[in-house]
Amino acid sequence: MIEVKGLVKTYGPKRAVDGVSFRVNRGDILGFLGPNGAGKSTTMKMITGFLRPDSGTATVDGIDVTVDPVAVKGKLGYLPESAPAYPEMTVEEFLGFIAEVRGFRSATARGAQVDRAIGLTHLSPVRKQTIETLSKGFKQRVGFAQALLHDPGVLVLDEPTDGLDPNQKNEVRSLIKAMAVDKAVILSTHILEEVDAICNRVIIISRGKVVADETPASLHARKPGARLDEIFRTLTASDV
């Protein structure tokens, strides 16, 4: 479970995140929507303990990330935007490294976790290939595999379908859906169809502030008959 209270982050004169609060329970897939630059990534970086908030707190399973960041990081799986990975390592070596840092110290335990993650994300054809030689879709899946390697209770995914072709997008979505049964998931996106496809809750943020927090159905009900992107445009009109 994730609980975010009054998160604030300022870069120089710019307030990137301005008092964001919300809660994600187990079984929820929260779609985190907003135009580019709205503050989605910054919020996620604070939840995952990469950035320190100027004020406010984020707790994961009751642990405050600013108090015990290492414990929170142990519970989370995080896919950063553009899925960074060490390019000169093979998929297998890279996931083996993640598994070791995640506490799977014996070779058998490590191998089992790596095989499981590779199976879930369909990476077997490229497991011995170096990451720098992979296509965008496979790279994204490596990022995915890395995030769910330790079967975390909480997943934070920053634009997980960005740059994928329609088939790959579908595949990633069904993967997220299948996994989310007993997890709390936040995924950011600026693709509106994604919300209807997988999310059971939506938060829209604009200029660092939450402007909507509801179910996809009630979002549609705001303006019956209108398309989601019209509603989105109205809500984020101040952000240009």
Binding site: T48, F50, Y78, E88, F97, V101
Partner: protein, 240 residues
């Protein structure tokens, strides 16, 4: 601190995943031995010592260690893997130590590749093994101090070239303080006690004793505290 080991392994074996490591080892060996033969008069001296080999170490390190250390953190920042690393359950200190120790081990390997030269010296005469051993020890310690400076500067920028230049300048300052030519210049301006004090901060001053077979705790402490200090600042710079 158990998390240092996976970081160390990834970094150390990472060197050998790219040809850069082999190029570095070859350049290091060729440059150090070349300087000893052609500038230091290794054979002309007609002595069974490695003095002419080690004399150039402080100068050789000035360029080669920044070359090895510049990518340490700047590369992680440029490719975004720093976000991956610092959302794994490790502390900043563990990451800094793991990477530093891996790079130090790699440099130690480069230094030890000159052991056949020591064999040659032994074949030609009967060298003082105590002096040779203490010089190697001093060389490894000095490499660690240079590396501490370079690790710190590479944490300050995502640009490797800038990282390299700042490292060279910083190391040059620490080197010049004890270079006899420079000390004479200083001596004509400042009182002797000040010149002596300044030269206390130099690599050369502290390395010299080792090349004479003297392992003075004062010199060991100097190198170790310089490493400790730069690595502390390294942690601060990354947590900023």
């Amino acid at each position: 601190m158990t998390q240092i080991s996976p970081i160390f392994k990834r970094e150390f074996f990472g060197y050998f995943r790219s040809p850069v490591a082999y190029v570095f080892l070859v350049v290091f060996s060729v440059a150090s031995i070349g300087l000893a033969f052609f500038v230091g008069g290794f054979f002309k001296a007609n002595q069974a010592t490695m003095q002419s080999y080690f004399t150039f170490y402080p100068w050789l390190f000035l360029f080669l260690i920044p070359a090895a250390g510049m990518r340490l953190w700047s590369e992680e920042k440029r490719t975004g893997t720093v976000e991956l690393l610092f959302t794994l359950p490790i502390t900043t200190l563990e990451a800094v130590l793991g990477k530093f120790l891996a790079a130090w081990a790699f440099l130690t390997l480069a230094i030890l590749l000159s052991l056949p030269l020591a064999g040659t010296v032994a074949y030609l005469g009967s060298p003082d093994w105590g002096v040779i051993a203490s010089t190697y020890f001093g060389g490894v310690l000095m490499a660690g101090s240079y590396l501490g400076v370079c690790s710190l500067t590479s944490a300050l920028t995502k640009n490797q070239v800038i990282s390299f230049v700042i490292s060279v300048v910083a190391c040059l300052a620490l080197l010049f303080l004890g270079w006899s030519v420079f000390s004479e210049v200083l001596g004509s301006i400042f009182p002797v006690w000040l010149v002596d004090l300044l030269s206390n901060f130099s690599f050369i001053t502290h390395f010299d004793a080792f090349t004479k077979g003297i392992i003075d705790p004062k010199d060991v402490v100097f190198f170790l505290s310089l490493m400790g200090f730069t690595l502390f600042l390294n942690v601060v710079a990354l947590e900023r």
